[in-house]
Amino acid sequence: MNITVEIGKLKLKNPILTASGTFGYGQEFEDFFDPSILGAIITKGTTLEPREGNNYPRMAETSAGMLNAVGLQNKGVHYFINEILPAIAKYQTNIIVNVAGNAVEDYVETVSLLNNIDRVDAVELNVSCPNVKHGGMQFGTNYDLLKELLQKVRKTYNKTLIVKLSPNVTKIEDFALLCQDEHADAITVANTYLGMAIDINTMKTKLATITGGLSGPAIKPITLRMVYQCAQVVNIPIIASGGIISWQDAIEYLLAGASAVQIGTANFINPSISQDILHGIEQYLLQKNIKNIKEIIGAMKSN
């Protein structure tokens, strides 16, 4: 059985990735399973300068989902390169750095630093973080801004470039096409949905930032639809991210046209879920007698 997939210049031994911000740097999960079995690890959102993130409270539980407003807390790209990367370089899998920024220049400087680092196999451009005042989602919801960003980043970064789109838009296909036109190697569909929750006893918002990003099974039907829509218009690979908690969910995304999937919030409920999902997919292919996983990518039929 062949379950390898290609994302740009990357060969993934399997289509299971862990989503940015939900898997730390892999180390937190070492007691539960070996991150080396993954197709790739995607790091927490990384910015040029260190960031403290938002005030507490940063999360709230919702029906089949959670809101988060972490706000890109991280120690900056230099710390990542010098302190974190050496510790995780041992994983025998691809390391993808999720990059965020306030301004186009931040992104460009960050990716240019990463461009020279061997062990960083790809960059996932986060233009869709709903939890920071400046930067983040503004790029992912504004066609012209995104275009400018992509052009400058693409000039600077030669390795595999993945763009993580925002689902908070009217027509995600337009953004997908833009990424393809501007030579991104792949797109991730999608980040979290802007949402909120209120504590009716205190009458206060549950998040310090008022709004935050909704993730988890609740959003799966919407993101699945977006993956399907994007798959109808672009040729570059699509990486799905949204509400996957079982191998069945992962298969749905592959059938809708995703070449790989990211496991996000589910890591919090079962830290070895990625391993379970990987095995579930293998079983499914075996049972359906499918020799190559590529046969099911985009294989969905109409009713």
Binding site: G21, T22, N55, A64, N68, N267
Partner: protein, 257 residues
């Protein structure tokens, strides 16, 4: 020392009712159980409802050679579910998580607990006793109905109890009692409501006492991966679940949640 985390199904040995809103789960100590420090916690899986679907963090209340205990307050659907567990049932558990309390030897120490915040203090008290420390244990409750586990603590040291309404023990909040009975403690430990913790930190700072506090925050993952459990400290935002939940109180900026 084995300090790995384990993710496993544990067997309920007993579900002990403490009062109308609290119960104590006795769970079989797994064979391969890593060393557990007082102040560490576990994450339980409960079946998702329309209200919640993440795990539930609970402090380790007591550890014996046969079992691990949890003291639980019924709050929402998750803890209600835990209340229904019976002898023989299994529960999906990740443990031990986080950093625990420092255990010195031959010192004079104070423990200050409020309400269900006394949960991690019992195991702490047990381990402090095992290391020959002299303990003053301050426990505060809302009223007589809420008072619990006094006898469990009496084994380890002098117990001072207060209730807000004076229906049992001294009248008043326990931090006031603590302040009145202040001595030159080498270590002060505290766990309880935010308002109490802030007060304990203030008293200790003012009186130059070393203090460790256990902090509860909302947690996404409990293992350091999500950064939802931010605690504002002199060293920036730290994670309650892995850098804590026990912190040196000197590090902590005023808790405002």
């Amino acid at each position: 020392m084995n300090n790995k985390k384990i993710h496993t199904q544990l067997i309920i040995l007993d579900n002990e009712e403490i009062n109308s809103s609290h119960f104590r789960l006795h769970i079989e100590l797994p064979a391969d159980c890593p060393h557990i420090q007082p102040g560490q916690f576990a994450e339980f899986y409960v079946p998702p409802t329309l209200q919640s679907f993440l795990r539930i963090p609970l402090s380790i209340h007591f550890v014996s050679d046969k079992e691990i205990q949890f003291l639980i307050q019924i709050k929402g659907e998750g803890t209600q579910y835990l209340k229904t567990l019976q002898k023989g049932d299994k529960i999906d558990t990740i443990l031990p998580l986080g950093k625990g309390f420092t255990i010195p030897t031959n010192k004079k120490v104070a423990l200050i607990g409020g309400g269900c915040g006394i949960a991690p203090l019992l195991f702490l008290s047990d381990q402090l006793a095992a290391n020959n420390n002299l303990q003053h244990i301050f426990l505060g409750f809302r009223n007589y109905e809420q008072v619990m586990l006094i006898d469990d603590f009496k084994k380890y040291g002098e117990v001072i109890v207060s209730t807000d309404d004076g229906s049992f023990g001294d009248k008043g909040v326990i931090t006031d009692i603590f302040e009145k009975k202040l001595e030159k403690f080498d270590y002060v430990y505290s766990c309880g409501p935010t308002i109490m913790i802030n007060k304990v930190i203030e008293i200790c700072k003012h009186n130059n006492l070393y203090c460790e506090v256990s902090l509860e925050t909302l947690m996404g993952c409990g293992i350091g991966a999500c950064l939802c459990c931010a605690i504002s400290t002199k060293n920036g935002n730290l994670r309650a679940c892995i850098d804590g939940p026990v912190f040196d109180s000197n590090l902590i900026n005023n808790l405002n949640y």
